[in-house]
């Protein structure tokens, strides 16, 4: 099993979700985050005082899939979330040691 962590631009969320469910992803976790990478912050001014906005709002996706699906998930996210401008995000793939379905107690592949 693989865990895929991806950060994407917030407006891309719906498109990515639809694409993932169409390739067989059955579950997904979404968090609103702030972050910075190559897309640096910018300067704003409030009542005459300048300040740095160092973080940009992003959406984080966490999903666990069978290893056989992992590459397809990575490709799908990459294609749908890409705009070509800086700040498109990153994807990381991790190994998962164990998975459990709370309702039934099923484990590993049966839990996904």
């Amino acid at each position: 099993m693989k865990m895929i962590i991806a950060t994407i631009k917030p407006f891309k969320l719906e498109e990515v979700r639809e694409a993932l469910t169409s390739i067989g992803v059955s579950g997904l976790m979404v968090t609103e985050i702030k972050g910075f990478g190559a897309q640096a912050g910018h300067t704003e001014i409030y009542r005459g005082a300048e300040y740095e906005v160092n973080f940009v709002p992003k959406v984080r996706l966490d999903l666990v899939v069978p290893s056989s699906l992992a590459d397809q998930v990575v490709d799908t996210i990459t294609q749908t979330a890409r705009t070509g401008k800086i700040g498109d995000g990153k994807i990381f793939v991790l190994d998962v040691a164990q998975a459990v379905r709370v309702r039934t107690g099923e484990t590993n592949h049966d839990a996904l």
Binding site: E44, I45, Y46, R47, G48, A49, Y51
Partner: protein, 443 residues
Amino acid sequence: MRKSTLSLAAISALAAPGVALAQEAAAPAAVPTDSVFILNSLLFLIGGFLVFWMAAGFAMLEAGLVRSKNVTMQLTKNVALFSLAAIFYYLIGYNLMYPLGTWSIDGVLSGVWGPGVLEAVGITAEQADDYSYASTGSDFFFQLMFCATTASIVSGTLAERIKLWPFLIFTIVLTAVIYPLQASWKWGGGFLDEMGFLDFAGSTVVHSVGGWAALTGALILGPRLGKYKGDKTIPMPGSNLALATLGTFILWLGWFGFNGGSQLAMGSVGDVADVSRIFANTNAAAAGGAVAALLLTQLLFKKPDLTMVLNGALAGLVSITAEPLTPSLGMSTLIGAVGGVIVVFVVPMLDKMKIDDVVGAIPVHLVAGIWGTLAVVLTNPDASLITQLTGIVVVALFVVIASAVVWLILRAVTGIRVDEEDEINGLDMAELGMEAYPEFSPS
């Protein structure tokens, strides 16, 4: 102009009823009749509840400009200060402000002490306290709202770090003594009025008083933690600009009552035409202030700043408050526009001086209040620069000294500032145990 002066004019009009209407040189007050009494009272009642509505305006404006963790506290302060003003103006302030000629120190200190008393239930015209003027209840109601407005001004500046009860104790002293005493010198017929100082609806008497009390408090209280780091000013953006904007429009609406009602009469063609001018001029000044701030923030900061535009509109309103009757619409717009300019320059200036004014009440009420008081000479030939300046300075000295004494005593006895951890976690949880937006995680 107040009750004491109008009565004399009315009496002389009554003495020769047939002649009064034809006499050009007589007082412009209408011949006292039931209709005049009723219409004057109506002006006070309507004007009064419009000024009452400004309390909602202040509450929304301040709630919108403070951070989420301090919203409940700001709202609590606004409701509490208004209610305390109502009680203490009734108990002490009203008679302190309007001795109606009975002075203990002539022109300076009222000789009438104790709670205000309204006319009895179901009076006839003969039983009215002042048949040439208006019902005492309507006069009390109207004037009470002005006192409460003064108190509201202070709460915005001192937000996000002041303790609730010491602030409310200050409010009590402000509404029971400080405001009514200086107001008696002008509107109560005291020495400022006698020397010819002009302040139609209170650029000095209300707005600069609130402003001085706020400034004195801000200096003694100190800035918010983390607001100034070395030479840098750290912005602390407000939590809800929709509320701030709503609050500004509510204040704008209430101001028609604030300035319009201050004509103190609506029973004649001349008076109602004057009230009409006042409404229109008041609106023009607000618009001038807003547009000036809009243009200036675009030019200076490369982007308009909504919070400054809102402050600009209010500064425009304060600027016209000392004389909303005599200017033309164009002149009113310009007078208001200067108010807008004041805001855009004074807000950063205060930050440079490390004076932390959370909502901009000092530029809006104090500085624009001084400007408005001086601007009277531009359109009212009865005003003189020296007299206006004297009034400004006298009120300034009194309010600054009186406020400083109260703030310093409070600071020594109870402390006026919450402790560091409470300030960081927010006053809502620390002092009230109640969040304004409990479903959102704390910022």
